[in-house]
Symmetry: C2
Subunit: 114 residues, 2 copies
DNA sequence: CCATTATTTCCATATTCGTTGAAATATGGA
DNA sequence: TCCATATTTCAACGAATATGGAAATAATGG
């Protein structure tokens, strides 16, 4: 991950409402969540929300897809993990000293294993 | 860690020069680094640097101490680790799914173990 | 005390950011 | 087609941010 990408991702998360949005998406898992549902959950104006979604998307932290009239946003866990890796990669005098926290979303509809 | 603290910390890291400064401090380890040395390493004006140091300090990501004429800045690893924990704590449907990356700086002058 | 070094403080400025209101666009249903 | 729903686009605004120059403060050495 380039430094500039890290800065963009950090900036995307460095705002109250956006951090709320992202955490909500993270909890929603890979299926994502409709813009309207997020707007209601966080009590945000739809146009404001679009602005924040754009930031998250530009930072690679979220994806969108249309589903009927709704836009479904979902967190991009891969970017999040890459960012964590970047932040820790130089944390011990140049050599990585800790396993980057890997964030694997629990499947919503998973076959219950055994 | 409160959400507001996380936002402050993320904002502190979400800037090119400041991320450079922090990464340099991280590599410098617990002994820290003089403001002047950082200014030279990153080619930043001293007043600009003071501005950025303040942000890092307010975010709990750095400490200062005076040493003669120099001000020695050092990274606060604990805050960094807390932030990483915060970012991953809700990453799997509400339950932590990964060990937060722990960043323990290698001691500069350690007794070489055995 | 004076000069030098190291850093901070203060003021000004251009840029970016977050929010709002109004209007536009897209989809689905009667 | 007309209407309601869902979301985006656009223009505007105050607030915060990052940087630069000049002056102030702190510590050291002669």
């Amino acid at each position: 991950m380039e430094k500039t990408d890290a800065v963009t991702a950090l900036a995307a998360l460095a705002q109250d409402n956006r951090l709320d949005v992202f955490r909500l998406l993270v909890q929603a898992g890979p299926d994502g969540m409709a813009a309207g549902a997020i707007a209601e959950a966080l009590d945000l104006a739809p146009n404001t929300l679009t602005f924040h979604f754009d930031r998250l998307r530009m930072a690679g932290l979220a994806t969108v897809r249309r589903e009927g009239r709704s836009m479904i946003y979902a967190a991009r866990f891969e970017t999040m993990n890459t960012l964590l890796g970047f932040l820790t990669e130089n944390c011990c005098g140049g050599t990585s000293c800790a396993p980057a926290a890997a964030c694997k979303p629990a499947r919503k509809r998973s076959k219950i294993p055994a």
